[in-house]
């Protein structure tokens, strides 16, 4: 499978595929981090390294 680079709709991070639906043609791409925050699984981090 060819990995298509897409951007998270919320943070703009480049990811291989939408973390919610894994559909390469997804129109509302969301990364794992943003999805976790949206679903209240974790709190947003001030920096990527979490510090």
């Amino acid at each position: 499978m060819i990995a298509l680079e897409v951007k998270c709709e919320k943070c703009g991070r480049e990811i291989d595929v939408c973390d919610m639906c894994e559909d390469p043609a997804c129109k509302h791409v969301v990364c794992h981090g943003c999805l976790s925050v949206a679903l209240d699984e974790r709190k947003p981090q001030p920096h990527e390294h979490g510090g």
Binding site: E22, A38, L39, E41
Partner: protein
Amino acid sequence: MAAGLPTEGTNSLHPRAGDAARKDVPVCSLTERLGDVRERVKAEGWDAALVVDGERVVLGLLRSKELAKDPDQRIEQVMRPGPSTFRPYVSLHEMAHFMEEHDLESSPVTTSDGKLVGLLYRTDAVRLGMQPK
């Protein structure tokens, strides 16, 4: 909450993914023949099944598309490996919103160590999670 056990207190009144996930979803193993699994899944009135290991850790997902493939293939050849899974404590309202936005018919719900809790259908998520307060 992460293990999908019952909760108490005022916050427990908000429906969670684990509450609505169907616990009796059919399961199968990697080495089974697709034709056998498909027959079993249809006989039980389902259109999806989860692929699990001996400890019920989710390894893959079979939706209608995968179930329709060559019946002589083994499950590991046709399944969607490593599907996105969601925790039982996730808000049903948020899940309903995301499942609608992403046109997902169903999503597996697992504990934080990957063990199957059930399969959440969008219809259930919308019905229970979008109720007026």
